[in-house]
Each structure stands twice: as C-alpha cells, then as structure tokens.
C-alpha cells in the first residue's frame, strides 16, 4: 500500500468532487469523537446505576434504552448490553473480530484494545492479561469475557467502591475510569 496519508487525501478529494461528503462534515465528525464523546458519558451511566436502583434495573434489562434516557446514543451504541460486576464475578469486554466498541459511552477505543495481542489473549488467558494490565483478581473470582458479536456492544458496570456512601454524583464520577468500564480495572476508591 502506498502512503496511507496520500490515499486518504485522494479519497477525500474524490468524495468532494462527487459531492458525497464535504471536508467540513468530516471535520465535524472528527471534532465530535475527539472532543465531545468520551468515557465521561459512560461514567455518568455507571454512577446513575449506583445511586438509583430503579435505573440500575432498567439498565440491566435494556441497556440501549436506559442509556438513551441520559441522552447518549448513536453509531455503535444501538445494541448495548450492560454486564454488572458482583462479588465473585468480574466481566471484561473485547471485540475479537474488529475492535468494535461502545463509542457513545466510552469514546473511541485505546490502542491496546485494538491490538491483535489483546483481542486474542484476553479470551484465552483473561486472568493473566488482567494481571498484566494491573488488575489482580482473587483465584475464586469468575472472569466472564464478553466478545462483541454481530450487533452487541458491551459495557461493564463496575462495583461501587466501599466507603463512598457520603460522596455525591460528581465525586463518584471521578472514580469511574474508562478501563473500569472495559473491565480491565476496578472503579477506584477516592485517594
């Protein structure tokens, strides 16, 4: 393949010429995904589930609809399934085929999520991979690996850290990292 930057530039010129897509539209899409959409959206979903049991129930029953209540949706967010961590059960998400990822709630995926190594290994040896990523789970904890298939995008609902009863929603949001919603970290107690 020749220089991809030139091929992309050529493709964009072609699309402009055919009147299919303007450069301004492409700029707007990039701007949206680089700056407006990110893991903060997912953190809001998680904290709402921690603090509102009725919402949690709706979220686990129909992730897409419950997430839409908070105003998040769009491409790659149409078929959301939320998998809750519980004592003794830890969930982790991968897309072995094409790195699909719930953009509306997490933004775009980090490089490691897209790597062939993560995609292959987290299925075969999840405990080892999580350990390498800094998350050591007790031997008795069951690890469930969720592979995005056809249309489903998974989001992990991490457990609320102990000792956070007095925190308000904005403080709780700070505890929910992107990685905790992929399932390669816990939500961290406040420092």
């Amino acid at each position: 393949m020749s220089d991809p930057a030139l091929r992309v530039e050529a493709l964009e010129a072609l699309l402009r010429e055919r009147g299919l897509v303007s450069s301004e539209t492409i700029d707007a899409v990039i701007q949206h995904y680089e700056h407006d959409v990110g893991p903060l959206n997912g953190a809001r979903v998680v904290v709402r589930a921690w603090t509102d049991p009725a919402f949690r129930t709706r979220l686990l029953e129909d992730g897409t609809a419950a997430i839409a209540e908070l105003g998040f949706g769009g491409p790659q967010g149409e078929h959301m399934v939320v998998v809750p961590n519980e004592p003794g059960i830890h969930n982790v998400v991968v897309c072995t085929l094409c790195s699909c990822y719930p953009w509306p709630v997490l933004g775009l995926p980090p490089a490691w999520y897209k790597s062939p190594e993560y995609r292959a290994r987290v299925v075969r040896e999840p405990r080892q991979v999580l350990d390498e990523l800094g998350l050591s789970l007790e031997p008795g904890v069951e690890i469930r690996v969720w592979d995005s298939s056809a249309e489903i995008r998974y989001l992990v609902l991490p457990e609320r850290p102990a000792g956070t009863e007095s925190l308000d929603a904005e403080q709780l949001i700070e505890l929910v990292s992107r990685d905790s919603m992929i399932g390669v970290a816990h939500a961290e107690p406040p420092k």
């Binding site: 393949m1 220089d3 992309v8 492409i26 085929l97 790195s99 993560y118 970290a185």
Partner: protein
C-alpha cells in the same frame, strides 16, 4: 497502577493510569491525522446514506482477519490501515472509486512540489 507494565509491546501504549478521570480518552485516539480523516470520512458516508455501518464492519472484519492470517514477518499491525483498506474496497464495490484511479491520484499528490501546502508571499 502506576507501575503497570505494557503487556503488548508491539502497540504504542501511551502512559495513562487506569484511574485517570474519565474526562477524556487520556491518550491519543489517532496516531496520525490521516487516521482521523479516514475515520471521519467513513462515518460521514454512513450518515450520508452512501453505505451502512454494517457493510463497512463486514469489510473491516475481513481485512483484519486477512492481515492476521498473512502479513510480512515483523510488520506491525495498524488498525487504521486495515480500516482504510476496508473503506477503499467498499468505495470500489459501490462504484464510487476504483483502485487504479485512487493510485493515480495519490501519485499525483505525492509529486507535488515541496512546500505545496504553504503559501509564501511572492517575492
């Protein structure tokens, strides 16, 4: 967490703590501007109804698995190169562009004189 090792040394894992606040991705989403253009172009084409997201996804899956099954030893994986290959194929399948035309146009762009994208006052 700050001591975590990079388990996937072949990818550029930029330092970011797992507990970093979820205000942003915490790392570069795109490694080069062309990756962002290819991404933005694809979504804009879906929005414009030129093709469906799922049509693109099927091509992307095929491209990724083809690369994994057969690539030069030592060639490092770049997700957006697969993405671009999938996009080019889909555009060709839709009759919007053909590979030869794209090659020719890319070569033309490559042969622009140095400094073509800067404007200098005539002097």
């Amino acid at each position: 967490m700050s001591q975590k090792r990079d388990p996937f040394p072949s990818v550029d894992l930029l330092a970011d703590g797992a507990a970093s606040p979820p205000r942003s991705n915490g790392e570069l989403t795109f490694e080069a501007p062309w990756e962002a253009r290819a991404f933005g172009m694809t979504l804009a084409l879906v929005e414009a109804g030129v093709f469906e997201q799922e049509e693109f996804r099927a091509r992307l899956i095929a491209e990724i698995s083809a690369w994994e099954a057969n690539h030069a030893a030592g060639e490092s994986y770049r997700y957006y190169e697969r993405w671009l290959a999938a996009l080019e194929q889909l555009m060709a399948a839709k009759g919007i562009s053909d590979p030869a035309q794209l090659d020719a146009l890319a070569e033309q762009l490559a042969n622009r004189p140095a400094g073509h994208d800067h404007t200098h006052p005539e002097g």
